[in-house]
């Protein structure tokens, strides 16, 4: 299926900060510093350090339960880190500086920094009581404070880009899973975040609907400017889209690098084992 896409994010080739010789001069858009997350005795993330460059597309792969979702949820402020700091565009996310001391961020601060980030969930999480159009225009209207006309226009443009302009008056329950996820993507994109998180966006879909959603995400990635963290089990997709692939296991980044290296020459045994499961079928 081909989806008509007008490109709003353009120019600037994508790049990976950890491989870039100009490393020192590129300011990361996201920095995880020594981030740990525990639920009681369960250590889900263990001392994660990670930089994401502006516009960089990072794919996150790894077995289920390894902490991938948690890593994204910390950035979306859905979970609070147990220790460590996260910076977004040079600003602390979970902390703020008050008179040289680092204190827990208040809601106002979180609100301000959170505006840089968007997320697409595995189970779409559309608002079932709103039409497709309202699902997409409500946040620009209420959060960004756009006028009704502006918000509507932005929303319609976005829905055209994901190929759903014909569905604006439908309710989520009337859409297929693939269509729902495309709406969810439009709803996140319309806020023009600098970083987009995709948490297994196609895992809840019937196999025949996976393609249309991946197409849309690829087209968005091709526009370039926005950094993306893609949690996925679609290895081919990760290879096509990502500038860098991170392999996660048991709350740690075990191995990372450009897709070619990760998929063709995996170093660690765990990654080799993990990938062999996908190659079998």
């Amino acid at each position: 299926m081909s989806v008509p896409l007008k490109l709003i994010y353009h120019e600037e080739p994508t790049r990976s900060i950890d491989n870039d010789p100009r490393k020192a001069v590129i300011k990361p858009i996201v920095t995880y510093s020594n981030i740990s997350k525990s639920y009681g005795d369960l250590h889900v993330l263990k001392n994660i350090d990670l930089n994401i460059a502006p516009g960089e597309k990072v794919a996150l792969i790894g077995p289920s339960g390894s902490g991938k979702t948690t890593l994204a949820r910390l950035l979306m402020t859905l979970e609070e880190p147990t220790s460590g700091t996260i910076e977004v565009d040079g600003e602390m996310l979970w902390h703020q500086r008050v008179k040289d001391k680092l204190v827990k961020a208040n809601e106002k601060h979180l609100h301000q920094v959170r505006g840089n980030i968007g997320m697409v969930f595995q189970h779409f999480n559309l608002f079932p009581h709103m039409t497709i159009l309202r699902n997409v225009m409500e946040a620009p209207r209420n959060v960004l404070g756009l006028s009704k006309e502006e918000a509507k226009q932005r929303a319609v443009t976005m829905l055209e880009q994901v190929g759903l302009a014909g569905k604006i008056d439908a309710y989520p329950a009337q859409l297929s899973g693939g269509q729902k996820q495309r709406v969810a993507i439009a709803r996140a994109l319309v806020m023009r975040p600098k970083v987009m998180l995709f948490d297994e966006p196609t895992s809840a879909l019937d196999p025949e609907l996976v393609g249309e959603v991946l197409e849309v995400i690829k087209a968005i990635a091709a526009e370039g400017e926005m950094a993306m963290l893609l949690i996925t089990h679609e290895m081919e997709f990760a290879r096509d889209v990502a500038d860098r692939v991170l392999f996660f296991d048991q709350g740690r980044i075990i191995e990372q690098g450009p897709p070619k290296k990760i998929f063709n020459n995996p170093e660690s045994e765990r990654l080799q084992t993990f990938l062999s499961r996908f190659n079998r079928h």
Binding site: M76, P128, E138, N142
Partner: protein, 216 residues
């Protein structure tokens, strides 16, 4: 023995009092709807003093009889400079009492909203107020409308207790008619029949509403 003549004679007066009963029911219900929602939100508040106060209020109101609360509002508050008419005291008392029950109903509705809705709202950076107004309440209230409707009927049937604070509603009227003529049979029968007709027909309406909501 039953006298139709006497029945017809007192019917207009009782019907006039029914108006008071019905308006007291609706006003008290409105109070309960608003205060109930405020209590629900206050109980969920992260601001501890507020949620503790709301919890305490709910427990207090639920564990004391409505009649005592009404007496308190109508007879004790005036001693402290707050005099209310029987109607106002009645709807405030009845409304506050039932607000604690409606608060539970709202809570159930709110807790049935999947966490993903809250998370999507946060990911889109909705403010807490907009999250409630646009996302959570519009989804949690429609499913509990039938339950709210049943509470409206319950409150309607509870209004005779307001006669205790001298509100001349249908029950008080029947009592007065009875003591004037020494005939109680007709007056109380009419009252009973009116409650029966109105409650039963309303509960049928609520049930139809429930079916329609379930079909959606």
């Amino acid at each position: 023995m039953w006298s139709w003549e006497y029945t017809l004679e007192i019917l207009p007066e009782i019907l006039a009092a029914l108006k008071i009963t019905i308006s007291a029911t609706f006003v008290a219900f409105a109070v309960a709807l608003v205060v109930g929602l405020i209590l629900t939100l206050a109980r969920r508040s992260a601001f501890k003093p507020l949620s503790l106060f709301a919890h305490g209020f709910v427990e207090f109101v639920r564990n004391t009889p409505l009649l005592v609360q009404l007496y308190f509002i109508f007879y004790v508050l005036p001693e402290h400079g707050l005099s209310l008419s029987p109607f106002v005291a009645g709807v405030v008392g009845l409304g506050l009492h039932y607000s604690t029950y409606l608060s539970e109903v709202y809570r159930g509705g709110i807790e049935s909203i999947p966490p993903g809705q809250w998370e999507a709202a946060k990911a889109l950076n909705f403010s807490p107020i907009d999250t409630w107004r646009k996302i959570i309440l519009p989804q949690s209230i429609p499913p509990v409308i039938p339950v709210l409707g049943n509470y409206l009927i319950t409150m309607f049937k509870e209004t005779p207790v307001l006669s205790a604070i001298t509100l001349v509603e249908i029950m008080q009227t029947a009592k007065m008619l009875g003591s004037h003529s020494f005939r109680y049979l007709e007056a109380f029968t009419i009252v009973g029949v009116m409650f029966l007709i109105l409650s039963y027909s309303s509960s049928l309406m609520v049930r139809r509403l429930e079916v329609r909501l379930n079909l959606r």
